[in-house]
């Protein structure tokens, strides 16, 4: 009887492991493999040819241009916001923290749509558009602003738990010794949070490069002008150029994989970071 029970428990355990591995294989490994399999299905020369097509290069350049604006802006906001939230007590902190969750629960399409209304003729900022005659929606500025919305909390959300955990004794000591705000920031805070900051920026950049829904709504799909890398994937796919679509997709996939590897690497370098990440996830 006892032996039977032991065998049963063992079999139960093995089947649980097998079920989860099957799920992970089905939803992680196979899709990842599919991307690279299709991208290289016609050999390396075709792959290189697809990557170096004029439209693809243009889309990469446009995405990089958006990234160059979005990343610094959201990093500065992230540092300021994390400093504000973790170093002072004030009313409405809960509300502010809820705002930081907003892009995670709001559909990217809704995010794109609200900017269309904001800059339409009757919208709140429509007057500015008319007065200065700048094209914002269906043009570069609109895409930048939509990407800003979708990626704004990434840096702040990485920094807040780690700055909370580290406390502010060091900064207070610096202040007592007469350091000003920039000295405290550059010599104490930033070196302490550098890995979290770095990872937040990686996440922000990865999302910025890969964002589809919000950018798709405000881009207007003008060939050669407002096509980012994910939109280029969509266009190629809809033109039934499957291999081409997967070639460009493999670039995006690579960006995603790099961000995952960065995370692992940072966790290894900074055990405190790992501890906080695993204990405060979703906070």
């Amino acid at each position: 009887m006892m032996k039977f029970k032991k065998v049963f428990v063992y079999c139960f355990r093995i089947s649980l492991i097998l079920i989860s591995l099957c799920f992970l294989l089905l939803f992680l490994v196979i899709p990842l493999f599919v991307v690279f399999f299709n991208a290289f299905s016609q050999g390396l020369p075709v792959y290189i040819g697809n990557i170096s097509r004029k439209e693809t290069v243009e889309s990469i350049l446009l995405t990089l241009k958006i990234l160059i604006i979005v990343l610094p802006v959201n990093t500065i906001f992230g540092i300021a916001c994390a400093w504000y939230i973790t170093r002072y007590t004030f009313r409405g902190k809960k509300v502010l923290l809820t705002f930081l969750d907003l892009p995670f629960t709001v559909s990217p399409v809704v995010a794109g749509t609200i900017f269309i209304f904001l800059f339409s003729i009757n919208g709140l900022l429509g007057i500015l558009v008319e007065k200065w005659e700048v094209q914002i929606i269906f043009a570069f500025p609109g895409m930048v602003i939509a990407t800003l919305f979708v990626t704004f909390p990434f840096v702040a959300r990485e920094l807040i738990p780690i700055m909370e955990e580290q406390g502010q004794e060091m900064e207070e000591a610096g202040r007592m010794l007469g350091a000003n705000v920039w000295q405290i920031l550059l010599k104490i805070t930033l070196p302490n949070i550098r890995w979290a900051l770095f990872y937040g920026m990686v996440l922000c950049a990865a999302r910025c490069v890969g964002e589809f829904g919000a950018v798709s709504v405000v881009s207007g799909h003008i060939r050669g002008k407002t096509i980012t890398i994910p939109l280029e994937v969509e266009i190629l796919y809809n033109e039934y150029n499957l291999v081409g679509a997967f070639c460009v997709a493999s670039l995006l996939c690579l960006v995603g994989l790099i961000s995952l590897i960065f995370r692992k690497w940072i966790e290894k370098r900074d055990p405190v970071y790992l501890y906080i990440k695993t204990h405060k996830y979703g906070d």
Binding site: F77, K94, P108, V110, I116, L231, L257, H279
Partner: protein
């Protein structure tokens, strides 16, 4: 609290960080969101109701909410299972799996969309096999569900995993010593502890699946009344120059997101109360 607005802190930069934070948030979040309310407010209440609850919109909500609910259920189940296996058992290549689990967050949604469509389509490895057996996945609600599962399942694993890891083995040991069976321990100790984070994971999965656009539109087929999701309907209304209809549905989805955010905050509060994490 000493002051109404701030506790006295000797650290400088209060005004600066407050200024940057609220200025940026007003421009990037508050102002755009208020535009949506203004746009919808420009019509009468009946206009709003008829735009939000038109037949096509109701069908789209049924597809979006119904399938999000199903995928969130599946994700909670498998999320719990996988988190359990990762925390409790020795599995081969644990570090590899642990890194790769976040792939759906890192993979751009358009890439996920075309990959799943190919994989489950007639030429794909899984799709060709299933189609030979008479099961069609691409361009059906089942395809949408698979895309939703793919984009959101790490949420379930990552919210449950830390709670399972922090579960004190002594509690289970003492229950065992007092004669509880394995099932009883699971039922009375493990499950109640994990429940708040299980629900958090469920809500996150639901919210993500509901708003998901990029990965779903490729696999959905986008047939009105059948496989059209709510976010796509917003885009459709925009393309039909029905701005009011588009704004109304967007506002409706936004309000649902707010409700979900409220649920998340409540769950977090509940979780803190019972586990202290």
């Amino acid at each position: 609290m000493k002051g109404i607005l701030k506790k006295k802190s000797i650290l400088p930069g209060y005004g600066l960080s407050l200024g940057i934070t609220w200025l940026y948030l007003s421009f990037i979040v508050l102002l755009p969101l208020s535009t949506l309310f203004i746009k919808v407010g420009s019509g009468s209440f009946n206009d709003f109701i008829s735009a939000v609850f038109s037949l096509r919109a109701i069908k789209a909500y049924q597809v979006s909410f119904g399938l999000s609910f199903i995928s969130a259920c599946i994700n909670s189940l498998f999320g719990f299972l996988i988190a359990w296996v990762i925390v409790r058992y020795k599995i081969p290549f644990k570090g590899f799996w642990d890194t790769l689990i976040d792939l759906p967050f890192a993979l751009p949604t358009a890439v996920a969309g075309i990959t799943l469509t190919w994989l489950y389509g007639p030429q794909g490895w899984i799709g060709s096999f299933l189609e030979a057996n008479g099961i069609k996945i691409v361009f059906t609600p089942m395809g949408i569900t698979i895309a939703m599962i793919f984009v959101s399942f790490p949420f379930a694993i990552r919210t449950i995993e830390p709670v399972l890891r922090d579960l004190d083995p002594e509690i289970e040991e003492s229950a065992r010593c007092l004669g509880a069976s394995r099932w009883k321990i699971f039922q009375k100790i493990i499950f109640p502890t994990v429940l708040p984070s299980l629900l958090t994971g469920f809500t996150l999965c639901f919210a993500r699946s509901m708003g998901e656009y990029g990965s779903v539109i490729f696999i959905a087929g986008n047939q009105p009344l059948k496989t059209e999701i709510a976010p796509l309907l917003i885009v459709m209304r925009l393309e039909e120059y029905d701005y009011y209809g588009s704004a109304s549905i967007a506002l409706f989805l936004l309000l649902v997101s707010f409700v979900l955010l409220f649920c998340l905050n409540f769950l977090q509060f509940w979780n803190k109360r019972y586990t202290g994490i």
